[in-house]
């Protein structure tokens, strides 16, 4: 079912050396940077792009119908050294932090930024206006700019005129690049003796010469256009991690036209989608960018990593009907066939979704295809609460990792990882972090905190008060938690708003590649960084939910309900990291934990998340400048890092230990089965939360056969109907079971089915485990 040339390409990718790189980009970029050094920023940007696109090698691979690849080589030691010297020149230690901020205000980690030249910069994480790209075409964009330039509207603003002139050069450079593909394919067609091959190449040539400036005539044109735009942005400028947004909506008219005219069958459409998906996989650098410790992450010379591009399927339409159509099915089927990590398919569930479609989706999930589900019924109210207008809200989607996005109406990722455990620690200790008194100084969000990835590593000082001040009820303690939450977030808001105000000054007249394809930027001749788009948001990733919930519930039970310990005693034990308090720690560890469907602890999921959301509402009320703030619940892999500066906590966690991951219970603490876990998670008021993942791990045996599929489809549907927001799952096989055998403490909740009954894998004996491991292989 997967075309042979795609299979070959996948095989090649998995065998690819992590030394291989699109090296000519580096040389071409530097040539142009020198050559156009005297031009104003926007013009210089455009000429750099033009120079790369006019000279990079054009590659047409065997068998493919959708073209657009880069030439990779394995660089010599000298070549590598040269590339490293550039990174050093741009971002090395000799460049003061303030200067870096002036170049790029918000730049993620050094690993992310190091290969990106400050004058040709992008971090992606956004959606282009794909619909306009395919329905109007690149020629339309260039004409629009010409008209604006001729209109006289911006005549007295030289920076805006430069912005538009740069944009026109950039559009034309895109078109010329695609024409090079048309030419290359035509040349190749002329010399081949194989008739079939000649047909293939001639068609590629015809499609490319049309889409170089024209609008898409059908599905193939559209996918080819999108791919060319992605290839250019992602591979030359590092603008990746796209949200392809609602592909089953904006491509539907073209697909339907093809089917009606008989120029395309559904099977052919599926194969084109498979090719398109594989293109996303093919251009990835072979690594896991979330593992910054990986050798390959450090070696990577590319401006993009293994960028996951998100693609949105299904969901409600603005008129209240369902968006599910034939194309939605094909988009899922392609994911199921390939089961690659890229693209990342987001299915928007809504009440009353077509049940055949839902089965298709869940089937893909249980086969470990990269398909996740989101709930329209919670997402839409949440996005509205945080400022998205009715007319825009139905278009919502996501970019990596699980961040909400209104396509084409906003620029790239801005975030703060709001550690929900900090306000709890501060509430317990008079607004001061525990430990070394030097940690109690007025520690705030440093420049480093802000301009790196917004990771709230700490320690932080809160609103000071006397920790011995009486705390007669749990309500008092909760009020303190809320106060510290608001305090921290407002501190953050104030410093970030100062940063953003400066950024607006620094970026006047600048352009980034994404400005070419957003809504509002060209019309106003203004980069999104300065306000070109309608929306500007900072995603506030609430982190450590379960740790905060368990710790607050422990105080409620230990101090107020059971009166076993006083707050002062808990404080002493925490100060001592539980050394000498074994009995207390054993008691705290055994208190009810989030994830077991127990009201006494789960009610804190509401309390914590409401405290967080109310504080965000307050930030938005006070905000000055472009940015609004949106709450999500997410940690990515940083749940380890974010625990490092925290003291021990009253859930029994030791100082410096990780906090809980994403929306999950603390590792190993959910022991009551899948439905209990889901019931706990649904206590989170997700109708106020705008994104973030819940990772579920299932053994393949629990979801086998048609019966297993029906059960899983039902389970997930009930979860969403009860107010869950998102789910993604790993259906684990042999390798993970072996790992579970070695480290059972990390896999306490792994549930397996054994012929006629279910068991927790780690509670089974070694021999039984071995037997099951062998059986999984069958």
């Amino acid at each position: 079912m997967i075309p042979r040339h795609v299979q070959k390409s996948i095989g090649k990718w998995f065998d690819k050396s992590d030394e291989a790189t699109f090296y000519e980009r580096i040389l071409l970029q530097e040539e142009a940077v020198e050559k156009y050094a005297d031009e104003p920023y926007a013009i210089r940007f455009a000429h750099i792009l033009e120079h790369i696109l006019a000279n990079m090698t054009v590659v047409v691979n065997e068998g493919e119908r959708i073209v657009g690849s880069v030439l990779e080589i394995i660089p010599t030691a000298e070549q590598r050294e040269y590339a490293e010297s550039l990174s050093l020149k741009w971002w090395g230690p000799q460049v003061p932090e303030e200067e870096r901020q002036r170049q790029v205000n918000f730049y993620f980690s050094p690993g992310w930024v190091k290969r990106r030249n400050p004058v040709f910069f992008s971090l992606g994480h956004l959606a282009y206006d794909w619909e306009t790209i395919v329905t109007k075409g690149l020629g339309w964009y260039a004409n629009q700019v010409s008209e604006l330039l001729a209109s006289g509207e911006f005549d007295d603003d030289p920076e805006k005129m430069q912005f538009l002139q740069g944009a026109r050069i950039a559009y034309e450079a895109h078109s010329a690049f695609i024409v090079r593909y048309a030419q290359h394919a035509a040349d190749a067609a002329r010399i081949t003796g194989n008739l079939q091959e000649r047909n293939r190449l001639e068609t590629i040539s015809e499609v490319c010469s049309h889409i170089a400036t024209g609008s898409a005539r059908g599905l193939r044109d559209a996918l080819q256009m999108i791919w060319m735009v992605v290839l250019v942005s992602q591979k030359t400028a590092g603008c990746g991690v796209f949200n392809f947004s609602r592909m089953d909506q904006y491509l539907l008219p073209l697909f339907a036209k093809d089917i009606e005219a008989g120029t395309l069958t559904e099977q052919e459409a599926l194969e084109l989608i498979v090719e398109f998906y594989n293109k996303n996989n093919e251009i990835m650098f072979p690594t896991d960018h979330m593992s910054q410790e990986n050798d390959s992450v450090i070696k990577n010379l590319e401006v993009s990593y293994d960028d996951p591009n998100y693609l949105v399927v299904a969901g409600k339409l603005a008129n209240g009907t369902s968006g599910v159509n034939r194309l939605s099915f094909l988009l899922i089927q392609a994911a199921k066939l390939l089961r690659l990590k890229n693209p990342f398919i987001v299915v928007r569930w809504h009440d009353g979704i077509d049940s055949d479609f839902w089965q298709e989706v869940v089937d893909a999930m249980r086969m470990n295809a990269t398909v996740v589900i989101y709930n329209d019924e919670t997402m839409i109210p949440a996005l509205k609460e945080f400022g998205i207008e009715e007319q825009d809200v139905y278009s919502y989607g996501f970019y990596g990792c699980n961040d909400p996005n209104i396509p084409a109406q906003e620029g790239g990722l801005r975030q703060l990882w709001m550690n929900l455990v900090w306000p709890y620690e501060l509430a317990l200790n008079g607004g001061r972090p525990f430990g070394d008194p030097s940690r109690s100084a007025d520690l705030n969000f440093s420049l480093r905190d802000r301009i790196q990835i917004g990771l709230m590593s700490g320690p932080y000082a809160g609103m000071k008060f006397d920790p011995e001040e009486p705390c007669p009820t749990m309500e008092t303690f909760i009020a303190r938690y809320r106060q510290q939450m608001s305090f921290l977030l407002d501190q953050y808001r104030q410093v970030m708003e100062q940063d953003y105000a400066k950024e607006s000054q620094w970026n006047k007249g600048r352009i980034r590649i994404e400005d070419l394809f957003l809504k509002g930027t060209i019309e106003s001749a203004t980069t999104w960084l300065v306000g070109g788009t309608k929306y500007h948001k900072v995603t506030l990733q609430g982190s450590g939910l379960a740790t905060a919930v368990d710790s607050l519930a422990a105080i409620d039970i230990a101090v107020f309900k059971e009166k076993r310990y006083t707050l002062a005693e808990l404080r002493q034990a925490i100060e001592a990291n539980f050394v000498g308090y074994d009995g207390m720690r054993a008691y705290l560890l055994k208190l009810p934990k989030f994830g077991n469907d127990l009201d006494s602890v789960d009610e804190y999921a509401e309390i914590v998340v409401d405290a967080f959301c109310d504080a965000v509402v307050d930030m938005n009320r006070k905000r000055e400048g472009l940015y609004t703030y949106m709450p999500a619940i997410s940690t990515d892999r940083d749940f380890t890092t974010m625990g490092e500066a925290l003291a021990a906590s009253t859930d029994g966690r030791l100082a410096g230990a990780p906090i809980s991951e994403n929306q999950s219970p603390y590792i190993g603490s959910d022991k009551s089965g899948m439905t209990a876990l889901l019931n706990s998670v649904t206590r989170v008021p997700f109708n106020r939360i705008t994104g973030g993942p819940l990772n579920l791990r299932l053994h393949p045996s629990t979801v086998e056969g048609p019966e297993g599929l029906a059960k899983l489809a039902s389970l997930l549907e009930v979860y969403l109907r009860k107010g869950g927001m998102q789910a993604q799952m790993n259906v684990v096989g042999k390798a993970e079971l072996i790992e579970a055998q070695k480290n059972p403490e990390k896999y306490k909740n792994l549930c397996v089915r054994v012929v006629g009954y279910a068991a927790y894998f780690v509670q089974m004996g070694k021999k039984a485990q071995d037997e099951l491991i062998q059986r999984t292989e069958l």
Binding site: D582, G583, R585, A586, Y587, L589, K590, D597, T675, A676, N679, A710, K711, S714, L715, E717, V718, R721, K722, V754, V755, G756, Y757, A759, M764, G765, K766, K767, A768, E771, L772
Partner: protein, 230 residues
């Protein structure tokens, strides 16, 4: 402490449970908990949306749930009052007076048949099957949905004669949904040692091979008894 090692003497254990909360590593547990019928009902109802949407329900299993027949009956009655399907997984080796009052509260009975040979049944399980067979005879007259489950061990209870007897025994039972053939597996061995320390020698049993299982399944199908899975 024995020779510097922490040890656990199962023979002296009175299941007082005091060791459980003080064990930092969660290594000790009392298996089983006390719960009232209304608490169990409330607990099960927390998942009611899942039962209803999946057209699934609650199965009382064990051990032998009918050792607490009154309790089972009460909870099952309340669940069915909420429209939730209830099943009973039983060995059926109890007086009919105990079983009869529970059956009206069950939508489905899962019934084990371990051997069709009296002597073999005694050798394998320690009891003669007369009472079980008598109960099955009564159940057949009741128009109750039943699924029979047969664990099969090569050379122990899978002889042609035993299988033929089982087929004859189950033929013509209208409300029988079918049989589920369960090939032997060793997954329970560890369980038997985990609460008693290492005791006794376990015999090495084997499952019937794939062809044997298929032949047995065909035998049932030939007499119009559906085979649900094996």
């Amino acid at each position: 402490m024995y020779q510097g090692q922490r040890t656990f003497d199962f023979h002296s254990c009175t299941a007082c449970g005091l060791c459980v909360p003080v064990c930092m590593q969660d290594a000790l547990a009392i298996t089983g908990t006390d719960i009232s019928d209304s608490d169990l009902f409330d607990l099960l109802m927390r998942d009611s949306d899942y039962y209803r949407n999946s057209q699934g329900g609650v199965t009382f299993s064990g051990g032998e749930p009918l050792l607490q027949a009154g309790f089972v009956r009460t909870v099952a009655h309340r669940l069915r009052g909420e429209g939730i399907a209830v099943a009973l997984d039983t060995a059926f080796n109890l007086e009919w007076d105990v079983i009869a009052p529970v059956l009206p509260e069950m939508d489905l009975v899962l019934l084990d048949i371990k051997s069709m040979d009296r002597k073999n049944h005694f050798d394998c399980t320690g009891v003669y099957p007369d009472l079980i067979w008598e109960n099955v005879g009564r159940l057949r007259t009741m128009d109750k949905q039943v699924l029979v489950r047969m664990p099969l061990i090569a050379g122990i209870n899978d002889s042609d004669r035993e299988i033929a007897d089982a087929i004859a025994f189950l033929s013509g039972w209208e409300s029988l949904l079918g049989v589920e053939l369960l090939a032997y597996h060793g997954l329970g061995l560890e369980k038997s040692t985990s609460y008693q320390g290492a005791i006794g020698q376990q015999e090495a049993f084997l499952a019937p091979d794939k062809d044997a299982m298929e032949k047995i399944a065909q035998g049932f199908r030939a007499r119009s008894i559906p085979v649900i899975g094996y």
